[in-house]
């Protein structure tokens, strides 16, 4: 789960990670009020969406008067912001963050993620703030300082020294401030079960202070049960409604842009099914894992969600029955076709325990839209043919 910049900064503030002062606003009037409350004579109006590249897309603007704050907030609120991370359809801006202007001397990067190879969090820092870190990693990896922190000992001063010397921070006072900044950010990461934190840019002001000018946080979904305060920050409008609906039924769904709907048990086999369709010359319309309990209800829900996509010309149901026997699943699929109006060909491949009985059930049912397949290759081939025939 991801949160907005203003929410990440609220969390930072709780942990003493310095940020510029700011107030979130839903309307231009609220934006004006926020600017007045913050005071000063320069403000930044920032679109709040869960995607990077907001500045380049025109979602972050500088205001030099209260009037300008109002004009900009009016302009940004309600706009559909397109960035390299939103996809071409963009995202609707419903909130802006009004922040006091900052005196930027240097722009840095600081992030915390899990290092899967080392199996511990790694703090990444770079002097190349404002650039995409993936790009820096590709073009000048020597400019990224990586310091892994073993949670058993936590953030120690030597971790801090590795960071500041790696970044070339020489002023002792600045070293101390940066080390504290990183140490606090590590605490945020651990305490909140974050999956990643990214501050890009982290700025050094003319006075030698470090401030989180941006803030991005993602959380480990499996740990949300112990963080109701994070769950409360969830912005449903940022999530795909179909993915969300699927999740409520225990289905894992991701829309793609092809023509063959897929319904599979198990994430690996679901990806493998998409790959096989592609290999056979077709295009998958989605990833859908029905999980371990493929029954009439979950299959019916799966059909419903897949068929919302108008591009779907055929559906490939690929289930490997293990503990759940195939004959039961076959009956479930037949029942599901009665519950949902399935107007495209459905290719059904059931393998595993009691596969032969299942094949018989499907053959006897003789539903014109349901086409049995003998194995994965056969099913994928038939699905590709059916999709082509439907054109």
């Amino acid at each position: 789960m991801n949160i907005h910049e203003y929410q990440a900064k609220q969390i930072f503030a709780q942990y003493g990670v310095p940020t510029p002062r700011g107030i979130v606003a839903n309307t231009p009037e609220e934006a004006v009020k926020a600017a007045e409350e913050l005071g000063g004579n320069i403000w930044v109006v920032k679109a709040q969406i869960h995607a990077g590249g907001r500045g380049l897309g025109g979602g972050v603007k500088l205001a030099k008067s209260i009037d300008e704050v109002k004009t900009l907030a009016d302009e940004i609120l309600g706009m559909t912001l397109v960035t390299h991370q939103t996809g071409p359809e963009g995202k609707l801006v419903q909130k802006v963050y009004i922040e006091e202007g900052a005196d930027i001397k240097d722009e840095l990067y600081l992030g915390v993620v899990l290092d899967r190879a080392k199996e511990m969090p790694v703090i990444m820092a770079s002097t190349e703030g404002g650039m995409e870190i993936e790009k820096v990693a590709e073009e000048s990896p020597e400019k990224i300082v990586k310091v892994a922190v073993d949670p058993a000992i936590g953030f120690q001063p030597f971790h801090g020294r590795e960071l500041v010397f790696g970044l070339g921070i020489t002023d002792k006072n600045e070293q101390k401030k940066f080390m504290q900044f990183a140490s606090k950010l590590y605490n945020v990461y651990m305490d909140k079960d974050a999956e990643m934190i990214e501050i890009n840019p982290l700025i050094k002001t003319g006075a030698g202070d470090f401030l989180a000018l941006d803030g991005k946080m993602g959380f480990d979904d499996s740990a949300l049960y112990r963080h109701p305060e994070i769950e409360e920050m969830r912005d449903i409008s940022e999530e795909d409604p179909d993915e969300r609906e699927a999740a409520q039924y225990g289905l894992s769904y991701i829309a793609l842009d092809g023509e063959i709907g897929c319904m599979v048990n198990g994430a690996g086999l679901a990806m493998g099914t998409m790959d096989t369709i592609n290999y056979m010359g077709g295009t998958p319309a989605n990833f859908l894992d029905v999980g371990g309990k493929a029954n009439a209800e979950t299959v019916a829900k799966g059909f419903e969600i897949i068929l919302k996509n108008p591009n779907v010309k055929a559906i490939f149901v690929n289930i490997f029955g293990g503990i759940v026997r195939c004959d039961r699943i076959a009956n479930g699929i037949l029942e599901a076709t009665k519950m949902v109006d399935v107007h495209v060909p459905v290719i059904v491949r059931l393998d595993g325990t009691n596969a032969e009985e299942a094949a018989e059930i499907l053959a006897n049912a003789n539903i014109p839209n349901v086409i049995p397949a003998t194995d994965l290759a056969d099913g994928a081939k038939k699905a590709v043919e059916a999709a082509k025939g439907a054109k």
Binding site: Q85, L114, R116, A117, E119, M120, E134, A137, E138, D150, P151, A152, M190, D193, E195, D220, D221, S222, A223, Y225, R226, S252, I254, L256, V264, N265, G266, A267, G268, L269, A270, M271, G272, M274, D275, T276, I277, N278, Y279, M280, P284, F287, D289, F320, G321, G322, I323, D351, G352, T353, D375, L376, A377, A380
Partner: protein, 290 residues
Amino acid sequence: MSILVNKDTKVIVQGFTGSEGTFHAEQCLAYGTNIVGGVTPNKGGQEHLGKPVFNTVQEAVDATGATVSMVFVPPAFVADAVMEAAEAGIELAVIITEGAPVKDMQMAKAHAVKHGMKTIGPNCPGIITADECKIGIMPGNIFKKGNVGLISKSGTLTYEGANQVVKEGYGITTAVGIGGDPIIGLSYKQLLPMFEADPETEAIVMIGEIGGDLEIQAAKLIKEQITKPVVAFIAGQTAPKGKRMGHAGAIVSGSAGTAKEKMDALEAAGVKVVVSPADIGKAVKEVLSK
């Protein structure tokens, strides 16, 4: 022969009396697994499925001499259960539980390593040595005995792979589902050499997926140490970037962890890489009839 577990392996079940634990322990017993007892706090002294229940893992180990634990404890308590097993002298914990917080598994794995306990999973189907010992949730009847070792991040792809191997007239020595979470126990790197050393295993199937770099590490190791033929499939060639494909660890971030990168590395290490999981069986036949 086999790796890690066989018919003599003494197994306890943590979370023995819960609904998942009960259902699967029953299936394992029916398969012939030597389950010697289980652990559920506050149910010590009772009997469940004809086996003794203990309050702590230490009691269970002391009383039964168990060396392997199958863990069905709910996600919020699973790290605790694994660390308990490690301190009680369990040699291998097979963690079936899905949805364990990453931070917890980090801690539990580090503790297991410290105490010399191997782990498999979490979020995995478990391990099975055909016709001898099933520790997990896989359908045992698919795994006919044979000469192919199998390592897979995905549950159903394990079944798919094993089924194809059997349909081609071969069978399985041991199959290990290692799980698709960001932090997992035994992986290709540790398991490939075990299969290399197992005299009965003549070929190895490895099934991977997008995300992380375990398959890249495996490719390196295969090049240097593995002489037996390896067939590999990497799921997620058609997965979009930045989207989590079901498994918590199955995500392509930036340019790292793509299927292509992994397939190329494995191919370069001399592995027979198939583009579709439908070709696993055929590929095994090909490498074994050479």
